[in-house]
Amino acid sequence: MLIKRPLDIPPSEITPEGLYLGRRRFLAGLAGTGLMAAAPAVLAQALTAAGAASGALKFTPNPRYSTSEKRNSFEDITTYNNFYEFGTDKAEPARNARSLRTRPWTVSVEGEAEVTGRFDIEDILKPHALEERIYRLRCVEAWSMVIPWIGFPLGDLLQRFRPASNAKYVEFTTLLDPKQMPGQRYPLLDWPYVEGLRMDEAMHPLSIIAVGLYGKVLPNQNGAPLRLVVPWKYGFKSIKSIVRIRFTERRPQSSWEKQAPREYGFYANVNPEVDHPRWSQKRERRIGAGAFWDRQPTLPFNGYAKEVASLYAGMDLARNF
C-alpha cells in the first residue's frame, strides 16, 4: 500500500525527525488496523477542495445513537452560538467566524501515547468513515437544541495514537490566534480554551469528533474544522477548533473550571439535581420548539443515562459536578 504525504504542506510545517518517525508509525498503524484499506475515498473526496466547494459530506446515518426528536433548524444551530473567541453575544460568532482559516490545519498530539507529533488534518481524518449522529445538546445556560452532527467516534481517533497505560485523561486545546479569533484579544478566559475528559469518557462510543452538521462541512461558528461533541455533558465541554490533543496522567483543568471553580466543574455532566449557583438546572428551554415560552424537564446525563451512568458508579455527583 502506498502511503503518501499530502503535498499541500508548506515547508514551515516540516516536522523534526522524531515526530516524523512518530507519524510514520501512526500511518503504518492505520495500514495495520486495516483502517487505511477500508479508508473510504469518501472522506478524502468529501473533505478536499472539490467536496468543500459544495460543502456536502458523505456519511451514513447512525440510528443507534440518534434521537428521533425534532431537529433544530440549520439557522438556529448556526446563529446562536457560545464561542467566545468570536464574541460573547450569541449572534456574534456567525458574523465574526469568517476570519477563521480551517485549511491548512494541523493537530499536535502530545503526552502519554506511543504516537505523538504534528499531523495534518487530512491525515487525522482520512481513515474515518463519517456518520450522522442526531444528539441533544444541553447548554449550562438552561437551553437546548437537537443537532444532526456529522463525525466519527473520538475513541477511534484516540486509539490510533496508542495511549499509554498511564494516560488517564485526555486534554484538548483550541487554536490560539487573536488575528483569526478576535475575541482572544481580551482576556475573558485564560486563552486558549482547554477542555478535558477522563479516558473512559473519551473512549465512550457516544463521544465524537464532529466535522459537519446537516450533512455539510461544519460552519466555522460551530467549531470547524474539528470539534468535540460529548452529548451527556454541558455544551462547554464540547471544545471547538481543536489544535492539540494531549494524553495525561493528571486531570487537566478546563477553562471554565479555571474561570469560576464554584460554578463549573471538570465533569459537567448534565444533572437536573445539581443547580448552577446562578440558575436552576431542573428545566431547559428547547430552542425553536413548542410555544416559545415552554420549558421541559432536564434529564440526568441529558437523557443518555442508560449509556453513560455506569461511568460514574459510586461517585458523588453533587461534589463531582
Binding site: N72, D76, E141, A260, W279, S280, W293
Partner: protein, 215 residues
C-alpha cells in the same frame, strides 16, 4: 413670551419625542414577538426580550439620574419636566422585565420564583431594586409631591440604591464578559459622584457662614 414658548417646546415637542424614543425599544420587541416588520429576535426570543427589557430599564434609570446634573450644568430648568417621564418609563421596563421573567421565562412557576429570589444573589438584588422602585412610581403624581412635601425628595432618593442594585444584578448575571456591566457601574459612579461633590460643595460653603454668625 420666551418662557411660554419654551414651555410649549418642552410640552408639545421634546416630551412626545422623548417618550417615543423611550418606547421604541419596546415597540421593536413587540413587533419582533408578533413577527411583523421583518424584525428577528434570534433563536431564543424569550431571552432576547428579557435581556433587552432589563437593559433598557437600566438605561432609563441612568438617564433619569442625568437630569439633575444636566440642569445644574446648563442652568436650563425645563430639564426637570422630563424627569418624571423618564423615571416612569424606566419603571415600566423594569416591571415588564420582571413580569416577562415570571410569566414567560419561568411560566409563572412561583416555586422557581421563591427559590430564585432566596438562593440566587443576582435575582435577590434585582428583585430588591424592583421593590424599591414601586413606591417611587406610585408617588410620581403632582398630588403625591404636594402631600409628601419635603419627604418626597428623600423618598425618591431610593432611585440611587435601586439603580446600583440594578447594575449589580447585571454584573452578577453575566458569565465572564463583565465589560458592559462595568460600564454601567462606571456611569452610575459618575452620576452619584457628581451629586456627592455638589453636596460637599454646598456644605462647605454653608459652614463658614454659620461659624461667622456664631462669632
Amino acid at each position: 413670551m420666551a418662557a411660554w414658548s419654551q414651555e410649549r417646546l418642552v410640552r408639545f415637542v421634546l416630551k412626545p419625542l422623548l417618550l417615543a424614543a423611550c418606547l421604541f425599544p419596546f415597540a421593536r420587541l413587540a413587533a419582533g414577538a408578533a413577527g411583523v416588520g421583518g424584525i428577528s429576535l434570534g433563536a431564543n426570543p424569550v431571552e432576547e426580550i428579557l435581556h433587552t427589557l432589563g437593559k433598557w430599564g437600566l438605561n432609563l434609570l441612568l438617564l433619569t439620574l442625568c437630569i439633575t446634573p444636566l440642569r445644574q450644568l446648563t442652568g436650563w430648568a425645563h430639564w426637570m419636566r422630563l424627569r418624571r417621564m423618564l423615571g416612569l418609563t424606566a419603571f415600566f421596563y423594569v416591571a415588564v422585565h420582571f413580569l416577562w421573567y415570571l410569566l414567560v421565562d419561568q411560566g409563572l412557576n412561583l416555586t422557581v420564583l421563591a427559590e430564585d429570589i432566596a438562593k440566587r444573589p443576582y435575582i435577590t438584588v434585582g428583585f430588591t431594586a424592583l421593590v424599591l422602585l414601586v413606591p417611587l412610581a406610585m408617588t410620581s403624581t403632582r398630588a403625591s409631591m404636594r402631600r409628601l412635601g419635603r419627604k418626597w425628595q428623600s423618598l425618591h432618593r431610593l432611585i440611587y440604591p435601586a439603580t446600583l442594585l440594578g447594575c449589580v444584578h447585571y454584573y452578577w448575571q453575566v458569565k465572564a464578559d463583565v465589560r458592559e456591566p462595568l460600564l454601567y457601574l462606571a456611569a452610575l459612579a459618575v452620576l452619584l459622584g457628581w451629586r456627592w461633590w455638589k453636596h460637599r460643595d454646598r456644605v462647605s460653603r454653608a459652614a463658614p457662614a454659620a461659624f461667622e454668625r456664631v462669632r
